[in-house]
C-alpha cells in the first residue's frame, strides 16, 4: 500500500522539481501535460496488446505521464489504423501501436486511409518472427515431412495464421513459392485463435508468433522459423527456413512499435522517440518481455523509418499480380 501511495505522491512532488527544471531551460516539463493514449488495433489480451502494456510501464519516469492503452480491434488492424490516420490529434498526445508488415501490406492490398507516408514512426520495441508449428501429435516431425506431404497433396495442407495479409500470411506465401508447393491459408481473427486451430487439429499446421509458440512449446512441434538467423535466446534448436534450403527472408517478421500521425511537430517526435527508446531499454521491461518469450529489438525513429521503406519495397514485389479478393 505504501508503495502505491508513493506512486501517486511522486507526481505531486515532481511539480516543484519540474518548475525548477523549467527555469533551467528544459522543455520536458511543458509537455506532455496530460496522459498520452496509445491505440492498439487488436483485442485486449493478444500479443500486441500485452506487449504494449509492458513496454509503457516506465512511461511516468520517462515522460512524466502515464500512457493509456486503448483497444480498437477489427479486420486485422484496419479499423483502428483507419480511424487513427484520419482522426488522431496532431499534438503528439495520441499515439498508436504499429505492426509491420501488417499495416504496410494492407495499405498495398486494400483501400485504406493509411500508408507508410502519412504516419510517423516513433520507435520500435519488438521483432517477433513467424514460426511454423504443428500440434504435438501431428504426423509431421520435420519441415521436410510437411513439404513432401504438401507436394503429394497440393492444397490439402491447411495453415492457420492471425489474419489476411499479416506476417503469418506472408510467411505462408513465401514458403509456397520457395518450396513450389500449394498450401491452404486459413485466416483467423488473431494469434490466439490461430494457435487454437493448430492445437485442436482444425488446421494441419500454422504460422504463429515466436513468443506465443514459445509459451505453448510443450503442446506443439516447432518446425522452422521464418527469419534470417536462428533465435539463440528462446529457440536455439529450431532451424530457419533458409538453412533448410527454402529461400524465405525476414519479411514476415512482426515488428511492433509506436507511431504518430503525420503533422506532429518534429521536435516532439524526436523527444517522444528518445523517451520511448529509453522505456524499451528499461530493466523492468526487459525482464517482463523476456519472461514471455517476446524478443526485444529497440530501434529509434530513423532506423524504424528505414525499416518501413525497405518493407514497402519487398511487399510490393511479393504481392505483384495478386488480388485482394
Amino acid at each position: 500500500m505504501i508503495k502505491r501511495l508513493s506512486k501517486y505522491l511522486m507526481p505531486l512532488m515532481a511539480v516543484p522539481v519540474a518548475f525548477a527544471l523549467g527555469a533551467l531551460g528544459t522543455v520536458k516539463a511543458d509537455w506532455p501535460d496530460r496522459p498520452l493514449t496509445m491505440m492498439i488495433p487488436y483485442t485486449a489480451g493478444g500479443a500486441s496488446d500485452f506487449q504494449a502494456r509492458i513496454v509503457t510501464i516506465p512511461s511516468e519516469d520517462e515522460l512524466g505521464q502515464p500512457v493509456a492503452i486503448i483497444n480498437r480491434p477489427g479486420a486485422g488492424g484496419q479499423v483502428g489504423w483507419n480511424q487513427f490516420a484520419a482522426g488522431a490529434r496532431k499534438d503528439g498526445s495520441e499515439l498508436a501501436g504499429y505492426n509491420v508488415p501488417h499495416f504496410i501490406a494492407q495499405s498495398i492490398m486494400h483501400t485504406t486511409q493509411y500508408n507508410k507516408d502519412n504516419l510517423e514512426p516513433v520507435a520500435n520495441w519488438g521483432a517477433d518472427p513467424a514460426v511454423l508449428i504443428v500440434s504435438r501429435d501431428s504426423q509431421f516431425d520435420t519441415l521436410e515431412d510437411l513439404v513432401e506431404y504438401a507436394k503429394a497433396n497440393p492444397g490439402r495442407v491447411t495453415v492457420s495464421g492471425a489474419g489476411q495479409f499479416v506476417g503469418h500470411h506472408i510467411a505462408t506465401l513465401q514458403l509456397e513459392r520457395a518450396a513450389g508447393i500449394e498450401l491452404r491459408y486459413v485466416p483467423t481473427s488473431g494469434g490466439v485463435d490461430a494457435m487454437r486451430f493448430v492445437q485442436g487439429g482444425q488446421s494441419m499446421a500454422g504460422f504463429n508468433n515466436l513468443s506465443d509458440a514459445y509459451r505453448a512449446r510443450d503442446r506443439l512441434k516447432i518446425l522452422a522459423i521464418a527469419d534470417l538467423e536462428r533465435d539463440e535466446e528462446f529457440l536455439p534448436d529450431v532451424p530457419t527456413l533458409k538453412e533448410r534450403g527454402f529461400d524465405v527472408d525476414d519479411t514476415s517478421v512482426n515488428f511492433r512499435g509506436v507511431m504518430a500521425p503525420q503533422g506532429v511537430p518534429a521536435d516532439r517526435l524526436e523527444m517522444l522517440s528518445e523517451a520511448f527508446v529509453n522505456m524499451f531499454n528499461d530493466d523492468r521491461v526487459k525482464r517482463r518481455m523476456s519472461a514471455g518469450g517476446s524478443p526485444l529489438r529497440v530501434m529509434n525513429r530513423e532506423e524504424t523509418r528505414a525499416l518501413w521503406d525497405r518493407q514497402q519495397q519487398t511487399l510490393e514485389q511479393l504481392f505483384e499480380g495478386m488480388e485482394a479478393n
Binding site: 479499423v79 490439402r156 486459413v186 486451430f197 487439429g201 509459451r215 485482394a324
Partner: protein
C-alpha cells in the same frame, strides 16, 4: 488437496481486503447500465501493475464474477441489462418487479448467481484438463452450429409474436455485418465513416435497452404521469432461499448449461443466460408464464451466466484460450504478471493459482451475501423520481459507450439505434432479439467462412459441416429446439383458444 493448503492465503491481509472491496466495487459497477464486465476488468488492469501477482489476479477474477451478477440489478429494476449476459434476466426479472416482487426477484438472482458461480468454479478446479481437451475440439463447423442453435432461440425472446422476434433477430444479424469482413478484411455496408468500425455489442446493447427506457421515462414525466411506479415489497431472505433451493430443475439446468457454454471458445457467456432460459422454458410445465414474471426464468438465466464465469477460465488456464471476451481481457492481465497459461501454471505457480481459485470460490459466497444486502437497499433506486433517473441513465449510457473504445461514432450509433428502438417497441418489437442477432451474426459468419476455407482441403463442405459427433449433436439440438418451439406455440394457441381468455397477451 492443494485448494485447502492455499486457502488460508485467501484470508491473509491484503488479499481479503481486495476480495471484499473487489466484490462490492464489482457489484456496483455491474449494476450501472453501460459498464460491462469486460470493460470493468479492462479498467482495473492498470491497478494490478502495482500489486503482486496473486492480489492482482484476485482483483480481476473477483471483479469478473461480481460484475456479471451485479448486471442483474439494473436489468430487474429499470429494465436495462448491465451486460449482454443479463439479457435473459430482463425477460422475467423486470415483469416480476412490475408485479411488486422486485426484492424477491433480486433475491433469486443473487442466490442463483452464487450457486451457479460455485458450480462453475468447482468445474474449473476439478475438471480443467479433460474439459480443456473438449474445448479444443470446437472448430469452425462446431461453432457455426452453436451460433445457429442460438438463432433458434431468437423467435421466443419476448416479442409479442414469434414473427416479430425473427424479424428483429434478422435485423440484428444484418447490422452485425456492417463494417469489415472479419476474415478477408473487405468493407460492407459502410455508408459513413462512423460505421467503419461496425456496430459493436456494447454500444448496441446500451442503445437498444437504455435509450427507449430514458425516452419512456421522459415521456411519462412530461405528461405528468407517475407511470406504473412499483413498490418494493418486504420479503424475508429465508423465505426466498427456501423457495429458490426447491427450484432444482431451473437451478441445475441453468448451472449446467452455463458451465457448458462457458467452455466453448468464442461463443462466450453472452449467450449462456439465453440458452439456459430457453431450455428451462421448454422443459417447464407452464411455458406460457415465462416473460410475465416467472421466478424460474430469473433463476435459470442468472445461475447460467455465473456458472459460465468459472468454466470460461478452464481453456484459458490450461491452454491460453479464453472462453469469453472478459476471459480474454483477464488473460492479458495474467500475461503482464508473467503468468503464462499451460499445464505448468498449476505446478510452477501453484501458490498463485490455487489462492486465486480459492478466492474465486469465496467471491461467489461474498457476492451472494452482499447482493442480498443490496437487494434491501434497492428501494431507494426505485424511489428516485423519473426525471432524475432518466438523466442519470442517459449520462451513464453515453459515458459507458464512449469509454469502450474512446469513439464518438459509437455514441452516435448507440443513440440512433436506441431512438429507432423506442418507436419500434410500440409495434411489439423488443430489443432482445436484435442484440442476440448482433452477438450471433459475427460468430456464425466468421466460422462459416473459415469452415468454407478449410473444407476443400478435407472432403468438401457437406461432410465438413454435417459429420462428426459434436456437429451431429448440435444439429440435433437445433432441430429439437425449432420443433419444440413450433409445438409449444401451437399448444399455447390452442389452449388460449379453448380457454377463450380475452385481452390478449400483455406486452413484455
Amino acid at each position: 488437496m492443494e485448494l485447502l493448503t492455499y486457502l488460508p492465503q485467501v484470508f491473509s491481509g491484503v488479499n481479503i481486503l481486495i476480495l471484499v472491496l473487489g466484490t462490492i466495487i464489482g457489484l456496483l459497477l455491474g449494476s450501472m447500465p453501460g459498464v460491462s464486465p469486460t470493460m470493468a476488468v479492462a479498467l482495473l488492469i492498470p491497478f494490478t501493475f502495482h500489486m503482486d501477482s496473486t492480489a492482482g489476479l484476485i482483483l480481476l477474477g473477483v471483479i469478473y464474477a461480481s460484475t456479471v451478477a451485479g448486471g442483474a440489478v439494473s436489468a430487474i429494476l429499470i429494465n436495462i441489462p448491465g451486460a449482454p449476459a443479463n439479457i435473459a434476466t430482463i425477460l422475467d426479472g423486470h415483469p416480476m418487479a412490475r408485479n411488486g416482487r422486485a426484492t424477491e426477484a433480486l433475491h433469486y438472482c443473487f442466490i442463483s448467481s452464487g450457486i451457479g458461480g460455485i458450480l462453475g468454479v468447482l468445474v474449473l478446479i476439478f475438471f480443467t484438463p479433460p474439459l480443456a481437451e473438449l474445448a479444443l475440439r470446437f472448430g469452425p463447423s462446431e461453432l457455426f452450429w452453436v451460433a445457429i442453435l442460438g438463432v433458434t432461440v431468437i423467435g421466443s425472446l419476448g416479442s409479442t409474436s414469434v414473427l416479430k422476434g425473427l424479424i428483429a433477430g434478422a435485423f440484428g444479424i444484418w447490422i452485425s455485418l456492417i463494417g469489415f469482413n472479419p476474415i478477408l478484411g473487405t468493407e460492407r455496408f459502410v455508408f459513413s465513416g462512423h460505421l467503419q468500425g461496425g456496430i459493436s455489442i456494447v454500444p448496441a446493447l446500451i442503445g437498444l435497452f437504455a435509450i427507449p427506457q430514458v425516452l419512456y421515462m421522459v415521456e411519462s414525466a412530461w405528461r405528468g404521469q407517475t407511470g406504473e411506479q412499483f413498490q418494493m415489497e418486504g420479503r424475508s431472505i429465508w423465505q426466498s432461499v427456501r423457495y429458490n433451493l426447491r427450484r432444482v430443475r431451473s437451478l441445475s439446468l441453468g448451472s449446467v448449461v452455463g458451465a457448458v457454454v462457458g467452455l466453448i471458445p468464442g461463443a462466450g457467456g453472452q449467450i449462456a443466460g439465453l440458452l439456459a432460459y430457453d431450455q428451462d422454458k421448454k422443459f417447464s410445465g407452464h411455458p406460457e408464464k415465462y416473460g410475465k414474471g416467472e421466478p424460474d426464468g430469473v433463476i435459470a438465466s442468472e445461475s447460467a451466466n455465473n456458472a459460465m464465469v468459472g468454466s470460461s477460465l478452464v481453456p484459458m488456464f490450461s491452454l491460453g484460450i479464453p472462453g469469453s471476451p472478459t476471459a480474454a481481457v483477464l488473460l492479458g492481465g495474467l500475461l503482464i504478471q508473467g503468468l503464462f497459461p499451460g499445464p505448468d501454471l498449476f505446478t510452477q505457480h501453484a501458490s498463485v493459482v490455487w489462492t486465486f481459485l480459492g478466492a474465486l470460490l469465496c467471491a461467489q459466497i461474498l457476492l451472494m451475501v452482499f447482493g442480498l444486502y443490496i437487494s434491501s437497499l434497492s428501494r431507494f433506486v426505485i424511489g428516485i423520481p423519473k426525471e432524475y433517473m432518466a438523466g442519470a441513465v442517459a449520462v451513464l449510457a453515453i459515458f459507458g459507450t464512449y469509454s469502450v473504445q474512446h469513439s464518438f461514432s459509437d455514441v452516435l450509433v448507440m443513440l440512433v439505434l436506441g431512438t429507432g428502438m423506442y418507436f419500434f417497441m410500440r409495434y411489439g418489437f423488443s430489443p432482445g432479439p436484435v442484440v442476440l442477432g448482433i452477438i450471433l451474426g459475427p460468430i456464425a459468419e466468421e466460422n462459416l467462412l473459415q469452415g468454407l476455407i478449410i473444407a476443400p482441403a478435407l472432403d468438401g463442405p457437406m461432410p465438413y459441416f454435417f459429420t462428426g459427433t459434436i456437429n451431429l449433436i448440435l444439429i440435433g439440438l437445433c432441430v429439437m429446439s425449432i420443433g419444440y418451439s413450433i409445438y409449444s406455440e401451437l399448444k399455447i394457441r390452442s389452449r388460449r383458444r379453448a380457454g377463450e381468455r380475452a385481452g390478449g397477451a400483455p406486452e413484455a
